[in-house]
């Protein structure tokens, strides 16, 4: 964090120039020390900015020009969450060096202001530099930051999951390490300085084999619609909008088969307590709260899903199987039965304008609209509301030992909200996934970018790529070459965001891919779309998965898409997962292909880490080169094979014999490559002898 770096720098400088002795003769730290000052920065084109700190009732203070349009002011904030505004020429701006913001009422108007959680400079602090888990052990290192008076570290203790852990101290550096079981652990370190003041800091980490989110394969489960508590398939629904009876135990029991399919992360739909009965949708038909997106409680798990016990059991079993758990959270709104609504009316929108109405059109930006009259929208300009919604997310991740969150309705909230959630989670586990749902249309990269970047979300759903996959493989309204261009556009538009995107062929808000193929995508959600019998539907679904598993990011499988489950609009797109006994042969074959793709991807660093280059494409074929270090894979997706595609290989792709990692088939590539693969095929070619080939030791 910027502030921290400055503090370090300041302190390093300050400590260099030695100081007159203090009242105490406690030994001085050789390491960094806290500073009571915080420097506020801003860069302006014109005008003279002033800084208005909340702890001084927002009274304006001058800033000093530093040159080049930069201004700075040295502030002395009290400890705890604080805010300050910067005003220039009547406009309010935020400090660009601090990612987190909040809203404060200044002169009667709610303004976005810089937010930071100030450490107590009269106390020491502990700063974790790194926590490195492995499957059976971990190491960690922390730095003791002395209080402003510089008193040195006197003693330090630590616990792992409550049990004592030795700490090695060298100067101001604390090192810890220990064996530990698979799963999530809590590390707490306490340090006392020479003046007897104590500080405590904690981290949560997941011990697994080496993992980064770029290696994730996510399975999206809608809890009510997946499996019953006994792990068996749910009965079919008389009314598509009724509860199906899905249970968290059903998700837990499915873990072994998900792991066998290559899944290493499960994203579960929201588990807040939900209202009983039904409420009218925009179409006037009754809907139950089966989906979980209507919270009536901040911190209770829906009893019909199995309550807290079932969620704990799921997370525990998942971690033991090296599967991560990502929970869907809904900070944007509550159901009107939620206690917050009655207790804190000011936390919610005043005029219930319905999103999509003439007064609140979808494309007019962030208006405080409600999704439905009974879903009050959180008013983030109320600081108490803002803090409560962020803290509820932090609480859930902490309480249930989760590995990340999927954040619902990101663009319906101010960007400040998702940034503060990222910040709150990072304090406990900086590796926690923050996967935001920013629902955009084709080419909607500006919207996606807005919420990513430094201090922003770690991940979002790649909706533009999803639309392009559907247009090319499901609808047939775009060429495979168009899809190649979409792949390149995705790469270029997101390159500097640092994000790891979730790649999907569909989700719970759009008609099922298989139904779009046969033209049932427009079907009303209460008139169930038939399960297609034409094997070609599943081959086309396989093409879409084939490209998803060959691109950088986190392939994300919406439950059922691995068997080409049918479904029209909402709620038919969320029909119960059918029992395996009823799957058609082409459905099984699709799932087997997807599992194979996941297995090869898990083996191949080129597929997970490589750069992306489209090296050949035409209306029906796409060849994408993925290169990482010395490894290379050519992903070839062929929609139709009425002709062939030729062209010179790039200089760094060697001619010779290549092997398809998926099937083992060999292909000889000359200097002028000829792509003549059969229709509806996916190939992941690697140079012959690649360890990830079928039957080779690695796969």
């Amino acid at each position: 964090m910027r502030a921290l770096r400055l503090v370090t720098f300041l302190s390093a400088v300050a400590s260099g120039a030695v100081l007159a002795a203090c009242a105490s003769d406690a030994p001085m730290t050789a390491g960094p020390r806290a500073s009571c000052t915080h420097v506020a920065w801003v860069r302006v084109e014109a005008g003279t900015p002033v800084v208005r700190p909340s702890w001084e009732a927002f009274r304006a203070q001058p800033m000093r020009a530093v040159g080049d349009g930069w201004y700075a002011a040295s502030l002395t904030p009290p400890a705890g969450p604080q805010t300050y505004a910067i005003e220039v020429g009547g406009a309010f701006v935020v400090d660009p060096t601090i990612a987190t913001t909040a809203y404060a009422s200044i002169d009667g108007v709610a303004r976005e202001v810089t937010w930071l959680d100030v450490a107590r400079c009269a106390s020491p602090a502990l700063r974790f530099d790194e926590v490195t888990p492995r499957a059976d052990a971990f190491t960690a290192q922390a730095t003791f930051v002395a209080a402003e008076d510089g008193a040195a570290l006197a003693s330090a203790t630590a616990t792992l999951d409550g049990a004592p852990l030795p700490v090695r101290v060298e100067g101001a550096t604390l090192s810890l390490s220990s064996a530990c079981a698979l799963g999530r652990h809590r590390l707490v370190v306490e340090a006392t300085d020479a003046a007897g003041r104590t500080t405590r800091s904690e981290r949560s980490f997941l011990a697994t084999a080496p993992f980064a989110w770029k290696d994730a394969v996510i399975y999206q489960v809608m809890v009510d619609r997946f499996r019953g508590a006994d792990g068996l398939a749910l009965p079919s629904l008389a009314t598509p909008s009724a509860r199906a009876g899905g249970h968290l135990d059903g998700v837990r029991r499915a873990l072994p088969e998900l792991v066998a399919m290559g899944v290493n992360t499960v994203w579960i739909s929201p588990v807040y307590a939900a209202p009983a009965g039904t409420f009218p949708g925009r179409d006037g038909r009754p809907y139950s709260g089966y989906h979980g997106y209507w919270p009536i409680s901040a911190r209770t798990v829906e009893p019909t899903y199995g309550g807290e016990a079932a969620l704990d059991a799921l997370v525990s079993a998942a971690h033991a199987a090296s599967v991560r758990v990502v929970l869907d959270v809904v900070p944007n709104h509550v159901h009107e039965q939620h206690p917050y609504f009655k207790a804190h009316p000011t936390w919610f929108d005043k005029e219930a304008c319905l999103c999509g109405d003439a007064a609140c059109p979808w494309n007019a930006g962030l208006l405080p609209c409600r999704f439905a009259p009974y879903l009050p929208d959180v008013e983030f300009r109320d600081p108490a509301a803002f803090d409560a919604m962020v803290d509820d997310v932090r609480w859930a991740v902490d309480r249930f030992a989760l590995d990340g969150v999927r954040i619902d309705a990101v663009p319906q909230m101010p960007r400040a909200a998702s940034r503060r959630i990222v910040h709150a989670l990072a304090r406990l586990d900086p590796t926690a996934l923050t996967l935001g749902e920013t629902f955009v249309g084709p080419g909607g990269y500006p919207g996606l970018r807005h919420f990513l970047g430094p201090g922003g979300l770690a991940s979002e759903f790649e909706f533009p790529l999803m639309w392009a996959l559907r247009a090319t493989f499901a609808e047939g309204s775009a060429t495979v070459q168009d899809l190649g261009k979409a792949v390149e556009a995705s790469r270029d538009a997101l390159a500097d965001t640092g994000a790891v995107m979730s790649l999907m062929i569909g989700n719970h808000d759009v008609p099922r891919f298989a139904s779009v193929v046969v033209g049932d995508g427009g079907r009303d959600g209460f008139s169930p779309a038939p399960q297609p019998t034409d094997p070609d539907v599943y081959l086309r679904t396989g093409l879409a998965f084939g490209l998803v598993f060959a691109l950088p990011g986190m392939p994300t499988i919406y439950y059922g898409d691995e068997i080409g489950l049918a479904g029209g609009g909402d709620p038919d797109t969320r029909r119960p997962m059918p029992a395996e006994a009823g799957w058609l042969e082409p459905q099984r074959a699709l799932r087997t292909r997807v599992a194979r793709m996941a297995k090869v991807r898990a083996c191949s660093a080129a597929l997970r880490d490589g750069d992306v280059r489209v090296i050949a494409s035409d209306a029906e074929r796409l060849v994408v080169a993925r290169k990482a270090g010395g490894r290379i894979v050519l992903a070839v997706v062929t929609r139709d094979d009425r002709g062939k595609l030729e062209g010179p290989l790039p200089a760094d792709v060697p001619p010779g014999t290549w092997v398809d990692l998926l099937s083992g088939a060999k292909k000889v590539l000359g200097a002028r490559a000829v792509w003549d693969e059969p229709a509806r095929t996916v190939r992941y070619y690697a140079p012959d002898g690649d360890p990830c080939a079928a039957g080779a030791g690695g796969v």
Partner: protein, 663 residues
């Protein structure tokens, strides 16, 4: 790097050196932009964050029709000279490419061949010996009873771009066709002596109404079609029908109809007497040709009427009776190739070679007897594919060498969604030149007429649709036809039918619609025609739609053509169509050009069309308020629809199209 000194900190520290340097932080250059702002006003961080510049792509970009791939041809035999001849170039059969011997004694030449199109070729040894390529097993019929070598279609990543071809003056190309569908029985009664008598039991709307070829010829001679700006006539089925039979409608329709439409053939070797004699038919076609109009006949190959002698004599040439389309065991979707549309229409079985030879032979004979220029093939998906490939082979063998002109075949496959299926019938070498673009019609209807979708959706559909059927396909694009409620009613303020797939038959017999009495529907229909007339394809005008003729579904959408007493709105529409077709004829960019969207919003679509030597800009406002076209390039433009000089920022009135060329 700027430096700032700060005053003292509190606490035990030294007050601090006034010269303590503090570095301006590096905030990076990430630019998350503004996301609609919204009432919260997400602050864009006040840095100078800039986006990353993407490198300029220097690869050539051109339409698939202009792309060329380098293809190597070789010959390893003995010869003094070897030349490559083939259709890799328009004049490639007459003017070949000499091959040269390489170091190993192999003759070789590299030529650019069209992208994604198979190439037929031969090698000419020593100037006189034409042979197929011995090293290539792939062959195709050469139209003279022999075979050519066939190089399969390839695409390539290292294509070059050929110059766009400009239409040669005086040479007809089907990409320049504008088709007018003449529903003969309802067009004009030119000779009442051949009208025949009414058929008992048949409702008035289903009776023959007297239109004939003499009437069509009259309008040809008057110049009706050239004035309107069409150049191709699609004439309903000309051969003898069961013209004394009153048949119940398809699928349980309780009304009775005559065969006025021509789709109930009784004797395909004779003309239909109620339309005229063979001599009159030939005279009509000749008159059309004199007026530089091409003629397509409707050919109905799916079934015969059960009174046909050929059915009585050869029941084994037909699929068994007892399977009626839409009945329990014979759904349309799965038995469409053999089910009978009604119990009096036996379905041909073209897997039987004699049956196929009979029918294809007949189709070819009509061409020879009348000199027509193409066929519209009714319900082509309902017959075995061999009928179509046989017809194309015979046409290329027996007709094209003599006429020297491409014989155009457009198919009717009634499907608004499945483009892959439509495409499966299209291959100018062996099957159709194109089909009626049903999927485009749906999008055009929804974006321009019923306004349920925005112009953006139409634009992006067309961007993906333009090349979908292949670079040498010529699709017939349309907005109204004889199987749906008259399109003027879908252009009303409230579309008459909410369901875009509705056939409009619910009002065909009662509550029949009247002529709209206000301008807006006519303007909207003109806009739809404007999209068709300013883009590639062979656009279709269904008789009567040029004057917004009213009517619900079949048979009410086949009312007698109205020739006089037009309302001002009807006249306005007709004049506007003529104006737009005049522009199409004058501007190759509209017929051959590459379209580029300059701006598109829900209501307004502005695009350019470019070909060598011609660039045109089109602005179509489907909204009910004026819109500003601000995406035109800098400079002055002449507006071609209403006249005048304009520049970017010009206002496009509600429900209007404007066309611009740079001054």
């Amino acid at each position: 790097m700027a430096v700032l000194a700060f005053g003292a900190t509190t606490g035990c520290g030294d007050p601090g050196d006034a010269a303590d340097p503090i570095l301006v932080p590096d905030v990076g250059s990430y630019d998350g932009g503004n996301f609609d702002g919204g009432i919260y006003g997400d602050s864009a961080t006040p840095t100078d964050g800039g986006g990353t510049d993407t490198a300029v792509d220097t690869k050539p970009v051109c339409d698939d029709t202009l792309k060329r791939c380098a293809a190597v041809f070789t010959y390893s035999g003995a010869a003094t000279t070897v030349e490559l001849r083939g259709d890799f170039r328009p004049d490639g059969w007459t003017k070949g490419e000499p091959m040269t011997k390489d170091g190993t004694g192999t003759w070789t030449v590299t030529v650019p061949v069209p992208y994604a199109i198979p190439v037929q070729y031969k090698l000419v040894l020593d100037g006189t010996n034409w042979i197929t390529d011995p090293a290539n097993p792939e062959k195709a019929p050469d139209g003279f009873g022999g075979q050519n070598s066939l190089r399969a279609a390839t695409t390539c990543t290292d294509f070059t771009c050929a110059e766009p071809d400009v239409p040669k003056p005086g040479v007809f190309d089907w990409r320049d066709a504008v088709i007018y569908f003449v529903f003969v029985d309802r067009f004009l009664d030119g000779d009442s002596s051949n009208n025949g008598s009414k058929i008992s039991g048949v409702d008035d709307a289903g009776q023959y109404m007297g239109g004939d070829w003499a009437g069509v010829k009259k309008k040809i001679d008057e110049g009706y079609f050239e004035t309107l700006g069409v150049n191709t006539l699609w004439i309903t089925v000309p051969y003898n029908n069961a013209n004394d039979y009153g048949g119940l409608g398809v699928g349980g329709d309780p009304h009775r109809y005559s065969s006025y439409h021509g789709y109930w053939p009784r004797d395909v070797s004779k003309t239909e007497p109620r339309f005229g004699t063979l001599a009159e038919l030939q005279a009509m076609v000749a008159a059309a040709h004199t007026h530089k109009l091409k003629v397509l006949f409707d050919y109905a190959m799916v079934h015969m009427h059960d009174s046909a002698q050929v059915y009585k004599d050869h029941k084994d040439w037909f699929h068994a009776s007892g399977c009626i389309c839409g009945s329990g065991s014979c759904p349309w979707e799965t038995t469409g190739d053999r089910c009978w549309f009604t119990d009096y229409l036996p379905h041909w079985n073209f897997k039987v070679k004699e049956a196929r030879d009979y029918s294809v032979g007949n189709a070819v004979q009509w061409i020879k007897d009348t000199g027509i220029d193409g066929y519209r093939l009714d319900a082509i998906k309902h017959v075995d594919g061999s009928w179509l490939t046989d017809l194309r082979t015979r046409v290329e063998t027996e007709i094209t060498p003599k006429s020297g002109q491409r014989f155009y075949m457009v198919g009717e496959t009634y499907d608004f969604g499945n483009r892959d299926y439509l495409k499966s019938f299209i291959d100018p070498k062996t099957k159709l030149d194109g089909q009626f673009d049903f999927p485009l019609r749906l999008k055009l209807l929804q974006s321009v007429l019923t306004r349920k979708a925005g112009m953006g959706e139409l634009a992006s559909f067309m961007d993906g649709n333009d090349g979908f059927y292949g670079s040498s396909a010529v699709m017939s694009t349309w907005i109204g036809n004889h199987d749906l409620g008259r399109v003027i009613h879908m252009a009303e303020d409230t579309p008459m039918w909410g369901d875009p797939y509705s056939d409009g038959k619910d009002r065909a017999w009662s509550s029949k619609p009247g002529l709209p009495g206000y301008r807006a529907p006519f303007e909207r229909l003109a806009n739809a025609f404007a999209v068709l007339f300013t883009n590639k394809g062979a656009p279709l005008v269904y008789y009567g739609d040029e004057i917004g003729l009213p009517g619900a579904g079949d048979p009410d959408n086949r009312r007698l053509m109205q020739w006089t007493g037009y309302s001002t709105d009807q006249q306005w529409l007709k004049d506007r169509i003529a104006k737009l077709l005049g522009l199409r004829a004058a501007h190759p960019a509209m017929r051959r050009g590459i379209r580029k969207t300059l701006s598109v919003s829900n209501d307004l679509w502005v695009y350019s069309l470019t070909t060598t030597g011609d660039t045109v800009y089109v602005a179509i406002n489907r909204g009910d308020t004026a819109q500003t076209a601000s995406a035109l390039p800098a400079g002055s433009f002449t507006e071609l629809v209403e006249g005048g000089t304009v520049s970017s920022g010009v206002s496009i009135p509600a429900r209007q199209t404007r066309v611009f060329v740079a001054k």
